[in-house]
């Protein structure tokens, strides 16, 4: 079982997307700013020196563990869980920003599961 999978959310905290965040979603530029700020803190460098085009590995020098640490931080900041299969698309800072924006966007209403359509939960 994938330990990062969203189903592993603890009962004390609702999973992202059901927490009411849709109504208070940060503006896009604010998301980029938060991500770049987190990166700058992690890398101990001026945030102005980090651009959306920067590649995490080749330009910013993040190895695979450093990338995981960064994503761990972003999961906390944005109350997200990022599954393993999404990691490989995150090459540049811009990719990460877009990914987070997408994850925080309210789901299109037609795809929203209606309460009645949800799978029935076991009684116990």
């Amino acid at each position: 079982m994938n330990p990062l999978a969203p189903t592993a959310a603890g009962p004390s905290r609702p999973a992202a997307g059901t927490s009411g965040k849709e109504n208070q979603m940060p503006a896009e530029s604010h998301i980029a700013d938060q991500i770049i700020t987190a990166l700058a803190e992690y890398l101990k460098r001026d945030k102005k020196s980090i651009t959306l085009d920067n590649r995490l590995r080749d330009d910013l020098g993040l190895d695979s563990i450093a990338t995981i640490e960064l994503l761990f931080k972003l999961e906390e900041v944005f109350d997200l869980q990022i599954p393993d299969e999404d990691l490989k698309g995150l090459v540049t800072v811009g990719h990460v920003v877009k990914y987070v924006q997408k994850r925080l966007a309210p789901p299109p209403s037609k795809k929203s599961p209606q309460p009645a359509a949800r799978a029935k939960r076991p009684k116990k």
Binding site: P3, G10, S12, R13, I68, F72, E75
Partner: protein
């Protein structure tokens, strides 16, 4: 003929000083590093029977070392990084001129990354959010994170080993480093011991084991009192010690300053009890005999013993019994001191720090006091234990180190011939 192995560099992070100079000055002055435990927030301190510890205040790795990867390892491994940096600088070893695969790292650690380990376990059980367990938890709590990070920081590509034998870990590390060089696996071994586990869980565990001092909570500097009649348990400490061991020929070739020779080593098991030593001291005596034999010296040649002496009622008695069995009348002329009187019991670092104190005594002819030795206990008395500093030439010295798991180790040091 065994390859001769010498010590060419020392480094220390201790509750009475970071750096050998500060440590030794404080040790010779008999300064105690034991203070009151301020807080195990949110646990009420009243829940702890013992409330004193030998802590290192305000430690910040970045003030000692520019090595960002060091932020990923736990406190004990950060201590080891700082101690090893000093020891390497002290040795004058130029890593860029050495063959990296001929430099090993052997570290003794008893508890490992308990600071991060406890924090993460607590958060997991309180918050029930497995996905928020830190990605560095596993590499940070692994015992060999210290030996691993030392190799990365300093470029040592030879054997990289961690010895974990509880409180005797780094005495064993010294011995195994000696054997590593003797066997030809390496020319140089960065040898260290480190532990940092003054944490709510570990501290409670030692309290529950009734191993810690509890009668001196109001007077912390009096709590660690090896061999004294009022001793009532050890004081938990933290720290790291590092020693650069290399073959004599390698040290000569690069014209290194030699502090002392590591002349002999023995490791035994009492095969008796997880936490209690045999009360007759015969296994301790046998360990000392084997170490002296390995060094090719007789008991009559030994000048000084840096005792294990944790300040527990049983342990100190047994050690002196063992010493008396080996040294007989020589006990009257032996100097004995207990470094733990100053800095408490640093667990996996204790052997390395005891080794450093011993090497400094060989170098300076000075032996640090055993503080709080106010009233000799007839059960573990010896004339060479002193609460004052002693001045006397030390040519051959011994360190004892014993650990949970029925482990004993002894290491013999010799003054280098001029």
């Amino acid at each position: 003929m065994k390859t001769r192995v010498v010590i060419t560099g020392l480094g220390i992070v201790s509750p009475i000083g970071i750096g050998v100079k500060d440590f030794w000055k404080a040790a010779m002055e008999g300064r105690s590093g034991v203070t009151a435990v301020k807080s195990f927030d949110p646990f009420p301190l009243e829940g702890y029977r013992s409330r004193v510890a030998a802590q290192i205040e305000n430690f910040d790795l970045s003030q000692h070392l520019d090595f960002p990867q060091g932020a990923r390892v736990d406190r004990f491994a950060q201590f080891a990084l700082v101690a090893a940096k000093e020891a390497l600088a002290d040795s004058g070893l130029r890593m860029d001129r050495e063959e990296a695969h001929r430099i090993g790292v052997i570290v003794g650690a008893g508890m490992g990354g308990m600071v991060m380990g406890e924090r993460e376990v607590t958060q997991l059980y309180q918050q029930l959010r497995p996905h928020r367990v830190h990605p560095n938890l596993i590499p940070a709590i692994t015992l060999n994170s210290a030996s691993g990070i030392l190799a990365m920081a300093y470029g040592a590509k030879g054997p990289n080993l961690t010895i974990s034998t509880a409180c005797s870990s780094s005495a064993h590390a010294l011995g195994q480093a000696l054997n590593c060089i003797r066997s030809g696996q390496a020319d140089t071994v960065i040898t260290a011991g480190a532990d940092a586990s003054i944490t709510p869980l570990v501290f409670a565990g030692f309290c529950s084991l009734r191993a810690l001092s509890t009668k001196f909570n109001e007077t912390p500097t009096k709590a660690s009192r090896p061999f004294d009649r009022l001793r009532d348990g050890f004081v938990l400490g933290e720290g790291a010690g590092a020693l650069i061991l290399e073959s004599l020929s390698h040290a000569k070739k690069r014209k290194a300053r030699v502090y002392a020779e590591v002349a002999g080593y023995a490791a035994t098991s009492e095969a008796y009890h997880m936490v209690i030593p045999r009360e007759d001291g015969v296994e301790i005596a046998e360990t000392i005999r084997l170490a002296l034999k390995d060094a090719g010296v007789t008991p009559a040649q030994v000048d000084y013993i840096n005792a294990h002496a944790t300040s527990t009622p049983v342990g100190d008695n047994v050690e002196i019994k063992g010493i008396r069995q080996v040294f007989k009348s020589r006990v009257e002329k032996l100097a004995i001191s207990a470094t733990k009187s100053l800095i408490g019991h640093t667990l996996g670092a204790a052997g390395a720090i005891g080794g450093i104190a011993t090497v400094l005594s060989i170098e300076t002819g000075q032996i640090h006091p055993t503080i709080n030795y106010d009233e000799p206990d007839p059960e573990c008395n010896a004339p060479g234990i002193s609460r004052s500093a002693q001045e006397r030439p030390v040519k051959i010295a011994l360190i004892n180190s014993f650990g949970f798991g029925s482990n004993n180790a002894a290491v013999v040091f010799r003054k280098p011939s001029p």
